[in-house]
């Protein structure tokens, strides 16, 4: 449904745009209907830039982004407007997504004006009620309120409800739960799971691996704008191959194992492998690094894997 092939983004920085930041370097992956794909990485990994390129909030420098076969990068005016009927984004800070002087129902009303001018008020409020119900909220309790009267979790769910009023097929969720309390986070995550069951494709951008794991079918691990590992969530999390993925997983604060225990395990593994990995010395070639498929649907982009002496961290020999 959504397909990214060798996408690059170069930002111009500095006074006259003299400097450049290569934020995304040759990223390739796809999202299918009814699938949650998590983009996981730390600050500066390019994960949010990818989400923004998919939503056309920034333009890709090169590469192709296709949604249901149509090129997203070249969309203009009406085409872009139609694209937004099917693809919507929800972002980290729910408060800044709302007009603070509009009550929630008026925020919904602006959507009717731009996308459904022929729908009558009565029909519209019926649809709004249904959408609000479907995100687990009671319309009478939230619609007449101002954003500051609602909790972050409620606002985030209302943004999703707003997106659902359109003919939504793709949702880009950029760190939507990092600002929420632990007690409401899980409700928003469960909602994503329900949307997935309804056939929506979801691009879930996060830095939190435990959340990424809870809802997603596939994960894409990014490091400095490159995909270092991607594949089916269960496979990647059960046996991460790339040393960066392992470092990330070992740093996640868990509730059943302390960092010391995780590190002890990692140390044993490293001792057994005996060699240092060069993932952080990746060559900066024009096309970035090729990903190697080490098992069906599990790709790893380790520098050593493509070389003659495969990375001991992966324990596989790559046929060249």
């Amino acid at each position: 449904m959504l397909e990214l092939v060798d996408v690059h983004k170069v930002y111009r920085v500095g006074t006259f745009g003299t400097g450049t930041v290569h934020a995304v370097r040759g990223v390739t992956f796809d999202v299918q209907p009814g699938e949650v794909v998590s983009l996981i990485g730390e600050s500066g990994s390019g994960k949010s830039t990818i989400g923004r390129m998919v939503l056309r909030l920034v333009t890709a420098t090169s590469g192709s982004i296709r949604f249901e076969g149509a090129d997203v990068v070249s969309l203009r005016h009406r085409g872009l407007r139609e694209y937004y009927r099917h693809a919507q984004g929800v972002f980290q800070d729910p408060f800044s997504s709302y007009n603070p002087i509009f009550k929630v129902d008026r925020t919904f009303e602006t959507l009717r004006r731009s996308y459904f001018p022929r729908v009558t008020g009565a029909q519209w409020s019926e649809r709004v009620d249904e959408a609000v119900h479907s995100v687990g909220l009671v319309p009478s309790e939230v619609l007449g309120k101002f954003p500051h009267q609602l909790s972050g979790g409620q606002l985030q769910r209302l943004l999703i409800a707003r997106a659902l009023l359109l003919d939504l097929r793709l949702l880009v969720a950029d760190e939507i739960i990092s600002m929420l309390d632990a007690s409401t986070r899980i409700d928003v995550l469960n909602l994503l799971g329900d949307l997935k069951a309804r056939g929506l494709g979801i691009l879930f951008v996060t830095h939190d691996l435990s959340l990424g794991n809870y809802v997603s079918d596939k994960v894409v691990i990014l490091y400095q704008g490159r995909v270092v590992e991607r594949g089916v969530t269960a496979a990647v999390f059960a046996d991460p191959k790339h040393p960066y993925t392992r470092t990330l997983l070992a740093s996640v604060p868990q509730l059943d194992r302390r960092w010391e225990e995780v590190e002890a395990d990692e140390a044993l593994r490293t001792a057994a492998l005996g060699d240092r990995c060069l993932y952080h010395e990746q060559v900066d070639d024009e096309h970035g690094l090729g990903l190697v498929e080490i098992e069906p649907g599990h790709f790893v982009g380790c520098f050593r894997m493509a070389a003659d002496d495969p990375c001991p961290g992966a324990r596989v020999t790559v046929a060249r």
């Binding site: 899980i186 409700d187 435990s210 809870y214 809802v215 997983l249 604060p253 509730l255």
Partner: protein, 316 residues
């Protein structure tokens, strides 16, 4: 005993009346203890942290005392507290990344700060450089401006700076929240290391992220709507919590490896009560699955096992 807080109540003045953000909390922190404070937004955890070092002008000390190393802290007297701040009680603020003066090189800023406390910069400089190296920074950062450092580096500089004069009590407000998982781990580790090396005697870490507390804190204090719900060792709070609120809070966190389609977790239905006019009795009873008639009365925060305190009628 390092810190003792007795029946502390702090209210916020608003145009609609007093918000009872902290409504009678009593606890102790032992020497060398790292205590984590957890709870939802608006439970009073940040207010508690602030009350121990500096009340904002909107905040009003209503009752209760704070005793540090046997001396009562004059928390209601902003001026008198100055004698304790930084040397005895120090703080890593919520937005440590923007806590530094952007117009000063870091070294000069630290010089100004310690000089203002009557300490010669030259006398602390070797120790400062040693501690910076301990958190993985070299003394080169002293010649740089805050803007030149990454978020994790700034957080570590602020940590070293906050503990430079070996305070008795360090308060960390959401120290790891804005960081990536790898920097989060480094900062949390450094804080434990500082305690082990006795740069700080005891630490209060306020955060909404219980899993970080499990990794770094000795004990966890769970707050709900301005009151204490439970306090016990970190392991006990995570593995064998007694208060229904703690159980639900811990149960709402997915563990690594847990999947939506296998075990669907659930959040806590409802919202905490308004603290403008808090309900009588147990404040969690509206959302509590175990609520009973007895909950109309306020449960006492009492010890049910050595080092394990709970405020709940349903706990035998």
């Amino acid at each position: 005993m390092s810190l003792r807080v007795d029946d502390l109540a702090v209210h916020y003045r608003t145009t609609r009346g007093d918000v009872k953000a902290l409504d009678g909390v009593t606890f102790e922190i032992a020497d060398g203890e790292i205590m984590g404070v957890a709870g939802e937004s608006g439970c009073g955890k940040t207010t508690l942290g602030k009350a121990l070092i500096r009340l904002e002008h909107r905040m009003k000390h209503v009752r209760g005392t704070v005793t540090l190393d046997g001396r009562t802290l004059p928390i209601a007297d902003d001026h008198a507290m100055n004698a304790y701040r930084y040397d005895k009680v120090s703080l890593i603020p919520q937005y440590a990344m923007s806590a530094m003066n952007p117009t000063r090189k870091i070294g000069r800023m630290i010089r100004e700060l310690v000089t203002s406390r009557g300490v010669a910069y030259e006398s602390v400089q070797p120790e400062l450089e040693r501690r910076l190296r301990l958190v993985g920074l070299d003394e080169g950062v002293l010649a740089r401006y805050p803007i030149e450092l990454s978020g994790g580096m700034k957080q570590r500089v602020v940590m070293v700076l906050a503990t430079l004069l070996d305070p008795s009590l360090l308060i960390g407000d959401e120290v790891t929240s804005a960081l990536d998982v790898t920097s989060q781990k480094a900062v949390a580790r450094a804080l434990v290391e500082f305690r082990d090396r006795e740069f700080v005697r005891s630490v209060v870490v306020v955060t909404h992220d219980i899993s970080v507390l499990y990794q770094m804190a000795d004990t966890i204090l769970v707050m709900y709507a301005g009151r204490l719900a439970e306090k016990a060792s970190a392991t006990t709070v995570i593995d064998r919590p007694l208060h229904p609120y703690t159980k639900m809070l811990v149960g709402a966190l997915p563990k690594v490896g847990e999947r939506y389609d296998h075990a669907r977790l659930s959040g806590i239905v409802g919202r905490p009560p308004s603290l403008l006019d808090p309900p009588t009795g147990c404040r969690f009873r509206e959302r509590c699955p175990l609520a009973m008639a007895k909950c109309q009365e306020q449960p006492e925060f009492r010890e049910v096992a050595p080092g394990h305190q709970v405020a709940c009628w349903a706990v035998a």
